[in-house]
């Protein structure tokens, strides 16, 4: 295969992986609470700014700190903003999520300013590597590997552990899980913590890729990953990951396949696709096998 095609494929895989992780973070919370966490973008941002703040420290330490920051922020938003609203109707949750997202974003801007800042994070990953007879940036290989490992780990956690079992049950039928004794608060807190971890991972990869940190860095990812969650089927974790992956890969493939004058309309096509899915297949491509109404 030729270099450009392989390059595009590698791009599609790595970007797809990022969106899969983001979509999973959103889908995990939606599955359990019927809440679309718009603030996920701010989790990505806070992780990025933590990396910036700790620049100069060993990367491993910075990464751990970024993960801690994102997970902490996730838990705080859950405790303060979303727990009081548990059981509220979906419309209220939607608005609340919107408000939380904007509040965090504006507060972040208040503290760090709206301008993007450059950061040279993990510069070694920018090096080119020969793999399978093709030159790829090691960053992309790392991104693909990290996404795959994280997805596998999460999958194992959900399938093989007691806690994962409780989370899957809660995601399918929250009330029934509680009737059986599953502790709502623990399950929800865990979901938020995991989503924080996923956000931080994505953030580190994005910062390494772009070299830039700005308050809105998570916005694009969240919106498009969210599209993926919807397409994959809200409430289905596998669907979220797959939908996110497909949408992420689609952004790259559309870029490569669309005629030049249509390329800028990529996102319009994506959202058109979402609307079609909503109208034609409201349960998404891989609907969760739950008995309850999804939306």
């Amino acid at each position: 295969m030729s270099q450009p095609i392989l390059q595009t494929l590698a791009d599609a895989l790595s970007v797809g992986g990022l969106y899969a992780l983001t979509a999973l973070g959103i889908g995990l919370i939606f599955g359990i609470m019927r809440l679309i966490n718009f603030a996920h973008g701010e989790l990505i941002a806070i992780a990025g700014y933590t990396l910036l703040a700790l620049f100069g420290m060993p990367p491993a330490a910075a990464i751990v700190a970024a993960a801690a920051a994102a997970m902490l922020l996730a838990l705080v938003t859950e405790r303060l903003a979303f727990r009081p609203l548990r059981g509220a109707d979906p419309a209220t949750l939607l608005i609340a999520s919107f408000a939380v997202s904007f509040f965090l974003q504006k507060t972040l801007i208040l503290f760090v300013g709206a301008r993007p800042k450059g950061i040279d994070f993990l510069p070694l990953l920018g090096r080119q590597v020969d793999a399978l007879g093709v030159r790829l940036r090691s960053l992309e290989i790392v991104a693909i590997a990290v996404s795959a490992i994280l997805l596998a780990a999460l999958s194992w956690f959900l399938k093989a552990t007691r806690f994962g079992l409780e989370m899957r049950a809660a995601a399918e039928d929250f009330t029934m899980a509680r009737v059986l004794g599953v502790r709502a608060n623990r399950v929800i807190a865990t979901a938020f913590a995991i989503s924080g971890l996923l956000a931080a991972t994505v953030s580190c990869l994005v910062v390494a890729e772009t070299g830039v940190v700005q308050p809105r860095m998570g916005l694009q990812l969240t919106i498009i990953a969210f599209v993926g969650t919807v397409i994959g089927g809200l409430g289905s974790l596998a669907g979220a990951a797959l939908g996110g992956f497909l949408v992420g890969a689609a952004t790259i493939l559309l870029q490569a396949l669309l005629p030049p004058d249509l390329r800028a309309f990529r996102e319009a096509f994506l959202f058109l696709a979402v609307t079609l899915v909503l109208v034609l297949r409201p349960r998404g491509l891989i609907p969760a096998r739950g008995l309850r109404e999804r939306i």
Binding site: L85, P90, T92, A96, F98, I223, F271, V274, T275, L278
Partner: protein, 350 residues
């Protein structure tokens, strides 16, 4: 007591009076404040436009700013002098490039274009329920933003269009605010409005009684689109420029926040939200500019205003979800509609 018919108009009269008072007071202030008040009235038109759909159908729409954008751009294209158009938009088709319409026909045409978009986009979407519908309206926003931002030949793409006739001052804005309130009131008292509100309360019952929820949602959406388009027109001819960036997430957040804080379920809420937030924004803006004390400027950090607004919205959702107006109309009590047999609507007033 006033006879029933006049009593029903009491909320309308009250709101018009309040808005008129707001405008008149602003007219007495220096030009700078008057400008802010004009902006507030334009926001009011936008919020009322959003309310017509959200308040009556119960479905949150994130797409109204797209209608504002369409209104702004269409009016810009119709009113810009051909000379200006040839500078900014050299690739325009002949029939638009040469057009130069007066303000009112342009505004109406622009509102109509926005309404048309609402009709076309809304048709397949109105049968979606709750969250799906909201997500779909968000899609309308993004698609419109991307299309307008990249259709360089017609809109100038990411660049601003400048040189629009600036005809929107305090009185024009006030007049249109009054029109918006009138239209909103007329709709919510109309049969379609009442039926829609009845279905908001209990969709299953309404459907069973033969109410065509989808049709009425679409009607509300189109009217909402028209007024939002007008709001966009007003904004364009207030600023004198149009930029696609203006009509995206920040503006969406602002008008949704105004509606939520004021109260989504009543026209009074929409008006209250717009005016209260406008005043609040002004105060916060002053705080950010600061006061000079003994030569030093004491000011709030830039961006505080936005953060406070978001916090307020969150606080309202947590502690007073029905907003300032609490779902009630001024002097009107809350109007609930109940579907009785055969789709007849029985408005209960408490």
């Amino acid at each position: 007591m006033l006879p029933g018919r006049f009593r029903r108009l009491a909320p309308l009269a009250a709101l018009l009076a309040i808005v008129a008072a707001f405008g008149l007071l602003a007219g007495l202030t220096p030009a700078v404040t008057a400008r802010r008040a004009t902006e507030a009235l334009i926001d009011l038109v936008a919020v009322v436009g959003l309310y017509i759909f959200v308040g009556n159908s119960g479905v949150l729409s994130f797409g109204n700013v797209a209608f504002m954008a369409v209104g702004a751009y269409v009016s810009a294209l119709l009113t810009m002098r051909p000379a200006a158009k040839s500078v900014f938009l050299p690739d325009l088709p002949e029939w638009i490039a040469g057009a130069e319409w007066p303000p009112l026909p342009s505004a109406l045409a622009a509102g109509g274009a926005a309404a048309l978009l609402a009709l076309v986009a809304g048709w397949p979407l109105m049968r979606l329920s709750g969250i799906s519908a909201s997500i779909a309206t968000f899609a309308i926003l993004v698609i419109t933003y991307v299309v307008l931002g990249n259709w360089t030949a017609v809109t100038g793409g990411q660049n601003s269009l400048m040189g629009l006739p600036i005809y929107v001052g305090l009185w024009t804005a006030l007049a249109w605010a009054a029109v918006a309130i009138l239209v909103a009131f007329a709709y919510q008292e109309s049969r379609s409005g009442l039926l829609l509100r009845a279905s908001r309360e209990d969709e299953a019952a309404a459907e069973a009684a033969g109410v065509h929820t989808v049709r009425h949602r679409l009607i509300a959406f189109v009217i909402s689109g028209f007024l939002s388009g007008i709001a966009g027109v007003l904004l364009a001819h207030f600023l004198g420029t149009v930029r696609v960036e203006t009509f995206y997430l920040d503006l969406t957040f602002l008008i949704v926040a105004m509606l939520v804080i004021g109260g989504m379920r009543s026209l009074t809420g929409a008006v209250a939200g717009a005016l209260v937030i406008a005043v609040l924004k002004e105060l916060l803006r002053q705080a950010e500019i600061g006061v000079t004390i003994d030569g030093t400027v004491v000011a709030a950090p830039a961006g505080l205003g936005d953060a406070v607004l978001a916090l307020l919205m969150l606080a309202i959702i947590l502690f007073r979800p029905k907003g300032i107006a609490g779902g009630r109309e001024l002097f009107g009590g809350s109007v609930e509609a109940r579907v009785v047999a055969d789709g007849e609507v029985d408005p209960l007033r408490r």
